[in-house]
Structures are given as C-alpha cells and as structure tokens.
Symmetry: C2
Subunit: 153 residues, 2 copies
DNA sequence: TACAATTCAATCGCGTACAATCTATAAAGA
DNA sequence: TCTTTATAGATTGTACGCGATTGAATTGTA
C-alpha cells in the first residue's frame, strides 16, 4: 500500500499512514521504555501524572481518550510495579484517585531523556515537528467531533 | 495533554497525537465497517487483496508492516467469515497463499463508499489531505529506517 | 550429497483498545 | 424523603500488535 501505483482513495491512504506510523512510533519508544519496564501507554499515563498528581481515572481518561476498560487494568499494573497508588476518593466514593509513589516520581528523571532521543530518530527540524503536531491535533478534533458515540465529552 | 500549558517535549506531543488520531480514525471507520462485520485491520488486509489477489502472508505483512503473529489469527477470522481461502503454496510449502472467495470479492463493492464517507467526516480539502499523507509517510520511513530490529526489510 | 543457516508461518504470552454490562455511589426530581 | 436518573469504575469478551519461540521447508555451502 505504500508505493501503490493504483489510485487508492485518499482517506484510506491517510488513515493507514496514521495507523502504521502510530505503531512505528510505539516501536521507536519501546527501545527506550523497555529498560524502564514501561509500555508506551503506561508511559503516557505517567506523563499525565507527572504533570498533575492525584487525578481520578476519569480525568486521566479524558486527557488520553481512553476509558476505564483500558485504564483499570493498566493502572493496576502500574500499581503492582510500585509506581502509583489507587484509592477511593473520600468525598465521592465512586471515584478512584491515582497518586504517584516515591519510585513513580523518581522514574521521571530516568524518562527525561526519552523525547530528545526520539527526536534524534525523527531527525526533523523543530518547526516542522510543531506544524505537523498542530495539523494532527486539528484532525483529531474533527474526528472526535463527528462519530464516536463513546468518549463524547 | 491536549491543551497542555506546560512545555511537554515536542516528540512526545507528536507521538501522542499520532497515537490518539490513529484510534480516532479506527473509531470513525468502525461505524462503516461494523455493518460489513469487519474490523479496520481486516479491512486493510482486504484492501491489499483487492489490489492483488493470491499474495503470501509475508507479502501482506510487508505491505502492512505486520508480522505473522498478528496476521495468522486475523486471516483465520477472515477465512471463517468466508472472505478468503488459505492454502500452502505447492512450489514452496513454507508459504501460505491467501486468495479471495467470491463473497470476499463481492464485499469490495459494499466497501467502495467508505473512503468517501470518511472523507466527509474529515472535511479537509483534498490537497491538504494529500500533503499530510505525504508528510506522514515520510515520517514513517524515518522511523522504520532507525530502530525496529523486527520488520527490517 | 550432507549439513548448517535461513525463511516462512504458526503458536504462545502479555498488554492494550473498546463495546457492553454490572455495581456502587451520588445527584435530581416528585 | 423516596425514587429515578446519572456517573465512576470494574469486569467480561473479542480482536489486535508484537516479542519470542517452534517446526517445517528451502537454500547455501563445504
């Protein structure tokens, strides 16, 4: 499909491009995350928590576009790895608040070099990266606005 | 992470953008693929076969950047749905050739409208789509060239 | 021709994604 | 207050991705 001579519809090309690049990204991160014992989704959850500790499962899900079906088992793994704690909110017992442990906070320093290393792999000028990121984010909001009966926020 | 005030590293932003858009795309396709009983990865495999029938598992994997661990079970599902046949190559018994059944070929017409419908959801001008697709493909080849000890072709 | 190295597909195990469902809790309304 | 509705998270089932391994078939090489 990459160097395809026939006129495949553009939307299909674009979707597949995202589909395959997303996996390629995850492979690129893997080489740096493996030594930390993290998967990419786990790393992204930690990024969120390093920004703001003590979020609920729902708040994490809103930021990452993931639901509890994905997050609950993932968070349990992060918990048994010792990086986070899960505890029911005292004020609202429906919610579960996620807080970093000492080792979870410490992991941040070890992970600090990762984006730079991945940036090397990409080897693109910063302004090109920035423009691309913006375009892609625009695309996402279009996709979220339509469709998706779940994750409507 | 979307409207994030703090200076998160650019590579992380870009990777997460791809990660989340890729899922958003898959949700967007789902509404059109569900009636056909297909998942997005199954649809992509059929796209390849509609282009060129009788490919081996490896050849499909090369085009889609997937390995047999992913493809074998997926192809078995397409087989039990009646869309394809799997058969060892007579010349080289290591290979398995995938060929479309009559219903597999017939499915193509039902799927023909999908890219246009998704295009509507995107609502972007064609030349913008084309430029974006190109940029993303460029990014993928950079990512594949580095890293990824598997899938080296 | 023998035999080692390679290739291809299948299999296994783990970790996501996500729809659908369930339970507990909280909020809203009569 | 009592009941209805809504919300948060957990659970279940299905389907990817992919690293690692296995087994069979083929190729390369001495």
């Amino acid at each position: 499909m990459t160097a395809n001579p026939s006129p495949l519809a553009l939307s299909n090309q674009l979707c597949f491009a995202f589909y395959s690049v997303s996996h390629a990204f995850s492979r690129a991160y893997r080489q740096f995350l493996d030594p930390l014992g993290l998967t990419y989704p786990q790393y992204v959850v930690l990024l969120v928590l390093w920004e703001q500790d003590g979020l609920t499962v729902k708040e994490i899900g809103d930021r990452l576009f993931l639901d509890s079906g994905t997050l609950t088992p993932l968070l349990k793994r992060l918990e048994s790895a010792g990086h986070i704690r899960r505890a029911r909110d005292k004020k609202d017992e429906r919610q579960v608040r996620i807080s970093l442990t000492k080792t979870g906070r410490a992991l941040r320093e070890k992970a600090e070099e990762i984006p730079r290393q991945v940036g090397c792999v990409l080897g693109l000028p910063v302004d090109e990266l920035r423009a691309l990121t913006e375009q892609v984010a625009k695309l996402r909001s279009r996709l979220h606005d339509s469709a998706s009966p779940s994750l409507k926020s």
